[in-house]
Symmetry: D2
Subunit: 171 residues, 4 copies
């Protein structure tokens, strides 16, 4: 029922590169900064970058055909945050438009590491490394990432590491 | 198990004035303003007064022996917000200490109207009138406020309206 | 430099109906509900509707060619919230898409009343009436709404009241 | 004018152990979880631990006689967050009372590393390592931590590392 889910995302999965994965393996989510996001220092309140990163993860998973409602409904598992490292690089300000670039960097049987870069018009504002665990909602015990999704996450990781080596070649 | 629940709050209820109701019927909850509360205008973000009002309602109910966990657990009802009117009177700023003064102004069979005044050192910052409905969590249908609690809320309303008429006499 | 500002929004203003005002005078802003928006009741936390309403006001003003940075920069005035009434009608849930419909209902020399309806897929979730004052940032004293913007806000109000009378005719 | 600032905190500093530093070098800040803190998973939203950690840092600095208003007012410097690592260990729930234990672990000329443990009744919920930079508000360039405060932060670090070695001896 989700209008934003790419049509046939599941069906096209037989191809190694489902269309729902960006060519460079990097999902992009754009948001704007409103008053609610800022603090008396005139900049985005530092904890809010974690909120933007989660919005972006939600949309990245949805774009890959893994909306979290399906994870729970079909497979009785969900991702929970286990660890976050965040480096603050440049403050973002009111009215600024930010893009969260999400990459898959490591995919395990029941865990996932993402790299998320929150970029403003003047460069990176905050860079996050996020470790997620796949757990069963009932008892919070580890649960295996369903094979189809693991393959998608691996495809995303491969596409992004290929793109990265090209970045370096060009640099 | 709640250490802040006055001992024997239920038992003492036979008295018309349980000790958990302040003499003037006005519950006071104090909080401090941190960076998270402010916005780029240098003042408290306007939506946050609703958060402070809810913290204060939670503590006011707890102090009266009506912690919301008990409402659900013992009586299978809960309060939900139906309507809020808020007048913004003076901006509050970083590091300021605010006191939310909560009064019961009308108690119905399945509804409750509270008046909540968020006061800073320089006077009132925001004045709220909050209408709550008592509902059953399962289907959100109206549920009667348990008689003991209704009596407590009425006692609070009476104490506060008495205090108010004294305020006027003195004024 | 704002890519979302309609090109020539100022220039086209000579027409009574600038293109930046929707035909029915109702601005629409769409957002999605993420985990950060919800509470342990499984629904959107009630104070967050005020945040959505402000995001929508910001975008409505921007679409009308009145970004708040310009208000301060060119005219040394800004809108501040003086009063909000909000009626909660139906809870919104995780992953739901909401549309905030904003209408201008009264335009004074230094004040403005907007009606904002936050709609989900099942109907209205929260209906807000928001009174804004136009003030000078320095001393918070009332400042007149610049004539061009007042005219735009009036045009929006007229378009929406016309649309409303048509709604009734059709009903 | 801050009633919570210990009287004469500055004057007593001539002693190696100012009374404002806890004997074990660990500052404790207690808060309660309200609806606003939770999400649809029924637990505290993960980004909120960063807000609690900041409330605790503010109070820890205030208790040590370093309220941030004074930092800016007297010395024209402020602390900004450069990096946070947070490990999520156990979810906290509605109505739970949490204590943030803050320790100074490294004090540099213009930087500071704190360890902050957010503890619930069942154990640690989240453990944070926070790197702060001391900067000048005007240009965000590094600024030296004023010597008196550096000494206080070092005294806090020493007290806590002594306490820690005692913990181990006892263990």
């Amino acid at each position: 029922m989700d209008k934003e889910l790419p049509q046939g995302a599941g069906e096209t999965f037989r191809n190694s590169h489902p269309p729902s994965i960006p060519a460079d393996g990097r999902h992009r989510y754009t948001l704007r900064i409103y008053y609610e996001d800022t603090d008396a220092g005139g900049i985005v309140y530092h904890a809010n970058y974690l909120r933007y990163a989660e919005r972006a993860r939600t949309e990245a998973l949805r774009a890959m055909g893994i909306p979290h409602a399906d994870m729970v409904g079909q497979f009785n598992v969900m991702f929970v945050v286990r660890r976050i490292e965040v480096d603050y690089q440049r403050p973002a300000r009111l009215d600024e438009s930010l893009t969260v670039v999400t990459e898959s960097v490591a995919v395990g049987g029941a865990s996932l590491v993402l790299r998320q870069d929150v970029r403003g018009t003047m460069g990176s504002c905050a860079a996050l490394t996020v470790r997620l665990a796949c757990v069963r909602p009932g008892d919070n015990k580890p649960g295996r990432i369903p094979p189809r999704w693991r393959a998608t996450l691996n495809a995303m990781r491969d596409a992004s590491s290929t793109a990265k080596s090209c970045d370096h070649d060009e640099g």
